[in-house]
Subunit: 355 residues, 3 copies
């Protein structure tokens, strides 16, 4: 098993869920989601404990779900409130309910021990609440690949020149070295490309024509949320790293949710410090969709290849520092949960982020 | 293995089979069926013993099948009567032949020890020979589900209100208790719903508008043939259970044939004590097809879910008495065959049907 | 594993490969093929050693392949010549290169130990260089079957009457015995049908109407190249076996290449001693395509059946001598390679071909 369970995973955007039953899978667990009459969201195990029919095949009755086979009925906390043909409702007929919260228009589900579900652990960044920034909830990408490969790609600036040569990257960045640092539960990989032609995205969106300084900061919040801060500025400005808000700056946020060992959904949104408005949203959506389709093709081809026999260990190269740190940290998180599960003291894993 | 082998299984209707080779699968065994020039049906193992080509890929030559690869030829008893290129036909080149009989327009094949094939064990009920009853061979439903789940559904009146709320059931029956009794190799589950609105089927077919008394009798003949006796009568008649022939009474017979562990075919026919004629046949066919499609959707969703990991045992509830007795009896039948196979005395399982 | 590895396998015709990357699979190994600017072909392992992306998803840069994920670059010998982001190119980043040669317009790849790749072992026959013979590269047949079954079919004249009753065979040959002899690494099965009506192919192509003498010689060059020498001659000529060049004589050559345990490609070409020209090529292509489609249907049905449970050993009959010798020889070849692999002396298997 390669999932971190004690984590808030993104199930979708708030506007994806209404009163109707929605079935989805996270970390191999099938869930049914629905809103009650006060708009409160619930997430239950999507399986009737009687004959295993998915509850999502049943129907909403008020604020409850009625199973489509024999009518056993469950409230939003998973408590069985009716068994047709008998008076009692045994406690062991209840189904699991998963902690679920909404913030910034995003729906999060806690897939681990409910007692540990802590809203303080929800992903957040100040720009999501900053009125000078314009946020837009984008689409979602279904990728037939392992989520670790998807997330790893998001702490790996070196692929951009080769996978996205006409959109997010170009040849000028092929050999520019990558820096990597870890701070708490965030792994950062970044590089600046100074005094180079603008890439397709910023020609389209920023209107740059002459040479620019441009940057990529990949902040991977463990286990699988990435904030990619990328932008460009006229190289005459001689922009310092910390002043990049003076340029055209865009954040692409990827919420990487493992469905199971073979499928991943990447819900992505974007924020920017300029150009509010729907037409800019649509233009950025279009550019990002084109780029993400390029990643999807690569990641799915790799996933297929990983299922085939292998006779040697893959090689690791200089640009792999971000992914290498990422894999190590994920391994530690999963091991810590396993130990925890055995009832033994959890090793103090994250006291020093500079692993 | 979850099949009862010493049993007559339905392969189809008599009119489904002519001189042409027909390939089908029962209890995981591929068979080829064909009629000889006197219309006698044969069922052989559908595999040439030489290079394993299915015999159904070959061709009929007179009353024999010639393999499509090297021309080895078999008669309707499975005996190899020709090996091209040599004079002798070794006995070990014969293929298995399965006992096969036709009665009431139905084709039955014995899948177990041919020495035990006894036509006295063929399913029958008096109404099939009664000139006052109108029989009609319906269609067949291919269901991607285990046959035990399909058959169990046919001794389970409690699902009707929830799976068929607009056709065979309605809300009035949701909490009406179910009776279960066993007599020999028949498990009966039944209930009466008194003084309630008619269900869709009998509004359409019986023309009822006011309240009726209605009944469901599910007779599951082990291992997997179900006779569902359902009907309605004006509640002013105050009908006794044994007098239900005074009402509008319909039998739906389901011959449940396991193809393998994942697929089942339900050949269904119907009989009724009123309204002979083709137009009534078509109307009933249409109503039943609608209802059976509802069952199929539920059973296939359950089958998919059963293939996924399970962390706890399903719960059983009061309405499960029919299915629970059924599972117990099937287990006994399969165990008895296994013991038999070991050459030990078979336990006297069925002397008292009231298990 | 059922592949002979130390062997030249056919990858296709020379005209199938140009500068573009082509991905294919032989004996379970995925390969990428491409020509350099001097038209020299290379065959590399189709997998980047870094993140396993197939190299065929990357692009040609001059005479090298650049991986589509991070730009690692390999020359036609599999040597890694560039790792973006670093100066050195570690030797363990190289990929395997497979010996590859072209002869008579056919591309051959050596799938075993490169040190043993010897062009003297390439399949050849004098007619391929004889100006009196007309050669034509035909198509290729993708068959979902094990390559041993495909090749075995090519040393088995007895199937022709039954699989190809209207094209390559007819009823006259059903019981004519088959001769089998082995000479070195060639297994020959053959039979003459004397004084019989011509088969469809030679009615079409040779214009015969009266009775002919006709022959089939199946030369299976181990492990999996077959030359089928078939023809017809007016039976008044009383043709001796060695004089069959006096008749209308056609060679169908099948290069049988296992993709993996479940898929095979049969690249076929033909030669003849008469009737040069494109229209004759097209006519023969058409006749052979019809016949080979008949084989494909049989072989795929058998492959499916071989995956199902089997309760007894297949029977062997008189006509099986060719296939039986073939299986024995292949087993010996594979065992010899296995012993070789262990570093022990290889048993002298092929000193006497008359096994």
């Amino acid at each position: 098993m390669s999932f971190v369970r004690n984590n808030w995973y993104v199930a979708g955007w708030s506007h994806d869920f209404a009163a109707e039953l929605v079935s989805l899978e996270i970390t191999g667990q099938r869930l049914v989601l629905f809103r009650d009459r006060k708009d409160k969201l619930s997430a239950l195990e999507d399986r009737c404990p009687h004959r295993l029919l998915p509850l999502s095949k049943g129907k909403k009755i008020g604020d409850t779900i009625q199973c489509g086979y024999h009518g056993m009925t469950f409230n939003g906390s998973g408590v069985c409130v009716r068994v047709p043909g008998q008076d009692n409702t045994p406690e062991r007929a209840n189904v699991c309910a998963f902690p679920i919260v909404e913030r910034h228009g995003v729906v999060w589900i806690w897939m681990g021990d409910p007692a540990l579900a802590d809203e303080a652990k929800l992903f957040d960044i100040p720009e999501l609440s900053d009125p000078n920034w314009h946020a837009h909830h984008g689409g979602h990408l279904h990728i037939k690949a392992h989520y670790l490969n998807v997330a790893e790609n998001l702490v790996d600036p070196a692929h951009v020149s080769f996978v996205h040569p006409t959109t997010l990257g170009n040849a000028a960045s092929e050999n520019v070295p990558v820096h990597v640092a870890t701070e708490g539960e965030v792994i950062r990989a970044w590089r600046w490309i100074r005094n180079a032609p603008p890439v397709g995205f910023f020609k389209e969106f920023g209107g740059f024509t002459g040479n620019v300084d441009r940057w990529h900061y990949y902040d991977l919040h463990l286990p699988s949320t990435a904030v990619i801060d990328f932008g460009s500025i006229d190289c005459a400005e001689n922009c310092a790293e910390e002043d990049r808000d003076k340029g055209v700056r865009v954040f692409a946020i990827h919420f990487v949710t493992p469905l199971n060992e073979n499928e991943t959904i990447d819900h992505w949104m974007h924020l920017r410090n300029t150009a509010s408005g729907e037409s800019a949203n649509a233009k950025i959506d279009g550019l990002l969709e084109m780029a993400f389709a390029e990643d999807k093709a690569i990641l799915e081809a790799i996933h297929e290849e990983e299922q085939r026999p292998q006779s040697r260990r893959p090689v690791r190269i200089a640009i792999d520092r971000g992914p290498t740190v990422y894999r190590k940290r994920i391994r530690e998180m999963i091991e810590a949960e396993a130990v925890d599960h055995l009832g033994e003291p959890v090793a103090p894993v994250f006291v020093d982020g500079n692993t």
